[in-house]
């Protein structure tokens, strides 16, 4: 079965990460994504030059341009711009992440593209938005992490908040949000029969990602203080160290789970005062009671967890239906049945960089399965795509109109 977006074509005028991530998702869902690069592109600038490289190319490029075909177009050249307009007539989606105004200067602003293809779902992605004092500032993941407070809610208990040391989460979140917007635009087009322009910015996408924490702050005016592995809204909901020194993450988020958790702790016969009657102890009567006295409860439970190995706790807690997990590193994950059977991690062939490991499609669709294939080289499919356009031109009933700027 083809993917759910089979037959949808995307004109992918994106660079760095946020835009390319959006179109990678659409490609995985079956759309024919045509990724545009300048023929004169310096290979060292691909993927924003983010280190490390494989065979000299940034791993950024080869992560963010999977599930696509590569086309060289120089939008400053009149001939190539004509090709772009011709190609745009065959596209359903136009995707761009450049600063406000850049598209118009290249002849592919919304009005210009709409003149060529009024049904197009035209999606522009910016860093900070299309209005406001920061609209012209460059926006990248790191800046958005600092600016949106994404760094401010994590850290060791009692310490300063700390930055998440993997610089891609707001970029990828914004890319995902843009892909959602494209899909919603395609659905709306079925109803209205009309294309439209859509905008998504990193600032709002990064804030939406934090909707729960931000709602808590906006309601109480109290800033969250770092508290290690522990949740803010629920308790006990954190990591505990077990007998051999390793860690287990345990989440109790409902009263029903609390009752079952209390039974597991009682049956462990751990020698800690009070651990045998958690369920009836009025100090822990409700989630809000437990959150209010989180440190006291955690200290008591920690003393219990230290008395049995992690494997014991995983068995007992899982049997009781209590959510739990433990840290797994990449070397283990890449052989781990849970990651591989769901194809969450996979190794793919690439055209220029050998086999690489990558995250796979995060969805399973039972009737229209997603697909995943390695990144294209810049311009790799230029000949093939131009040939397709030539065939279309030859079979057109009327001559394809030459379109002015």
């Amino acid at each position: 079965m083809p993917g759910p977006l089979d037959g949808v074509r995307v004109f992918d005028l994106t660079l760095w990460m946020v835009g390319p991530w959006a179109s990678t998702q659409l490609g995985a869902l079956g759309a024919d994504v045509i990724h545009i690069e300048q023929p004169s592109v310096d290979p060292r600038t691909l993927g924003a030059g983010v280190p490390p490289t494989i065979n000299g190319t940034s791993i950024g490029y080869m992560t963010w341009n999977q599930n696509k075909r590569g086309l060289f177009l120089d939008l400053k050249s009149p001939a190539d711009r004509q090709t772009a307009y011709e190609l745009l007539q065959t596209c359903d989606v136009f995707l761009i992440n450049m600063r406000p105004g850049a598209a118009e200067r290249m002849g592919v602003g919304y009005e210009q593209v709409k003149a060529v293809n009024p049904d197009i779902i035209y999606t522009a992605i910016t860093g900070w938005g299309e209005v406001g004092p920061m609209r012209d500032k460059p926006g990248a993941d790191v800046q958005a992490q600092y600016f949106t407070g994404f760094w401010s809610v994590s850290g060791a208990e009692g310490g300063r908040p700390e930055v998440y040391r993997h610089m891609a989460q707001i970029d990828a979140t914004t890319g995902n949000v843009a892909a959602q917007a494209v899909l919603m635009g395609l659905l709306a087009r079925k109803r209205t029969g009309k294309g439209q322009r859509i905008h998504v910015g990193m600032l709002r996408a990064g804030m939406a990602l934090q909707s729960g924490r931000l709602a808590e702050y906006l309601s109480t005016a109290e800033l969250h203080q770092p508290q290690g592995s522990a949740a803010f809204a629920t308790a006990p909901d954190q990591a505990f160290q077990c007998q051999w020194g390793d860690w287990i993450g345990v989440s109790v988020t409902s009263e029903d789970e609390w009752q079952r958790f209390a039974a597991v702790m009682r049956e462990s016969e751990a020698e800690v005062d009070g651990i045998d009657h958690l369920a009836t102890d009025p100090r822990w009567g409700s989630n809000r009671d437990r959150v209010a006295r989180r440190s006291e409860l955690a200290a008591m439970l920690q003393a219990g967890f230290l008395q049995r190995p992690r494997h014991y706790w995983m068995l007992r807690l899982s049997a009781a239906g209590i959510p739990c997990g433990y840290p797994i590193s990449f070397e283990t994950l890449q052989h781990h049945a849970q990651a591989l059977e769901n194809a969450y991690l996979r190794e793919v062939e690439t055209s220029g960089w050998g086999k690489v490991w990558t995250g796979g499609a995060p969805w399973e669709l039972s009737r229209t399965p997603a697909r995943w294939f390695g990144a294209c080289l810049p311009g790799e499919h230029t000949g093939e795509i131009l040939d397709e356009l030539a065939v279309r031109r030859a079979s057109a009933d009327e001559p394809v109109a030459v379109i002015g700027d």
């Binding site: 610089m167 917007a181 804030m207 969450y344 669709l365």
Partner: protein, 389 residues
């Protein structure tokens, strides 16, 4: 004007963050969402904090624009109601917190339904039946290795990233499946289908750049590789507030001028001065972690706004590190309308985060209905159900 998903009917049987966030986004985009809750209500109603003992702010924020129906799975009648609501819906959003087997995808008679199940670890594999947990999924996907220090207690990301990543993926898959359903050839309809996403799989997908970096790098350097071993990164404290900055294009004379303006001429005698000049700052700086204290010594004499101005004027970039308080009153946040007022049933107003998309042709209404009380729309939804085929 209705949003892009106007006309679609969604039934949510989910609690906490991932499922409710998914359905909230569909509701924001114009879909009609009915939230089915057990007699004790969605668990997140009772999460912390609470204003006057009411529902948690997280619950209120993730359940706006929905209608609530209370159903008890120990009642056959209520199971029948749920089956009928699902058969009339375009989309189901379910998680495994107490979902009865009778409402599993394979047991429903709803050929056009897009049935999205959100789990902790995915539909296949040895952990398929394990319940979902934010901290468990963050640990198992090694997301916690990007925080804290080696050998210390794991640090979770304090925002519910695993759950919201899963929700973002669920929204994509649901919309794509609706597209396939409504796009197919009438003689060979695709129909509805089952869609699965998980917290674990979503966190792994979001770390893809790291997996590619770990495949076979030419050289072992860059934050994608050494973020595991770096110490906690607190940014750069100025006299008043922390900032983050990168030297970017600051080289040669510009660097000298930067050092002079920051009254840091003493740094020229620092043993690591050459590293500082070339690669000594910013998230991607090779030596940023070890040299942060050097910059902080200089920045201690300036306010953050001054440092930002000086760095930018020299060709670098610098940003304030906002906490939620500073974020919530930033002029840019106001200009883009990222925080909206949602009027509650009792006449008070709650501030929440706006949906992240702007649709010029089918605008999303920023006038939101508040999260429902438990079972608030029971009779309204059930009488509508009777009228539908």
């Amino acid at each position: 004007m209705p949003g892009p998903l106007a006309g679609y009917r969604v039934v949510e049987i989910a609690e906490g963050v991932a499922g409710p966030y998914t359905a909230m986004s569909l509701a924001d985009a114009g879909a009609d969402v009915v939230k089915i809750e057990p007699p004790q209500g969605d668990r997140s109603r009772a999460w912390s904090p609470s204003i006057d003992g009411g529902d948690s702010p997280l619950f209120q924020a993730l359940n706006r624009n929905k209608r609530s129906v209370l159903l008890d799975w120990s009642s056959d009648d209520d199971l029948g109601v749920a089956r009928r609501l699902l058969a009339q819906a375009d989309v189901a959003v379910v998680d495994k917190s107490g979902l009865p087997p009778e409402l599993g995808w394979e047991r429903l008679d709803a050929p056009g339904l897009v049935y999205c199940a959100i789990s902790g670890f995915g539909p296949k594999g040895p952990w398929a039946d394990r319940p979902a947990s934010e901290v468990g999924a963050q640990m198992a996907s090694e997301a916690t290795s990007s925080l804290g220090a080696l050998g210390e207690e794991p640090v979770r990301h304090g925002s519910d990233i695993g759950s919201v990543f899963a929700a973002n993926h669920a929204i994509q898959a649901i919309c794509a499946a609706l597209f396939a359903r409504d796009d197919s050839n009438p003689s060979n309809p695709t129909g509805g289908q089952r869609v699965e996403v998980s917290l674990f799989g979503s966190l792994i997908a979001m770390r893809s750049t790291l997996w590619v970096a770990l495949s076979n790098p030419d050289e072992w350097w860059g934050f994608h590789l050494d973020s595991y071993v770096k110490p906690p990164d607190h940014g750069y404290q100025c006299r008043d507030l922390p900032i983050y900055f990168s030297l970017a294009r600051i080289r040669g004379d510009a660097f000298d001028s930067l050092i002079d303006e920051l009254d840091m001429s003493w740094v020229r005698d620092h043993p690591e001065y050459e590293k500082l000049r070339t690669d000594g700052a910013g998230g991607a700086g090779r030596y940023a972690a070890e040299l942060a204290p050097v910059w902080e010594r200089g920045f201690a004499s300036f306010d953050s706004e001054q440092v930002i101005e000086i760095v930018e004027r020299h060709g670098g970039w610098a940003f304030p590190m906002h906490d939620y308080e500073r974020l919530s009153r930033d002029p840019q946040v106001e200009a883009v309308g990222a925080i909206i007022d949602v009027e509650q049933g009792d006449g008070t107003t709650m501030r929440q985060i706006a949906p992240p998309w702007d649709f010029e042709g089918t605008p999303v209404s920023m006038t939101m209905r508040p999260a429902p009380a438990l079972g608030e729309h029971q009779s309204e939804v059930l009488s509508e159900m009777e009228l539908l085929p």
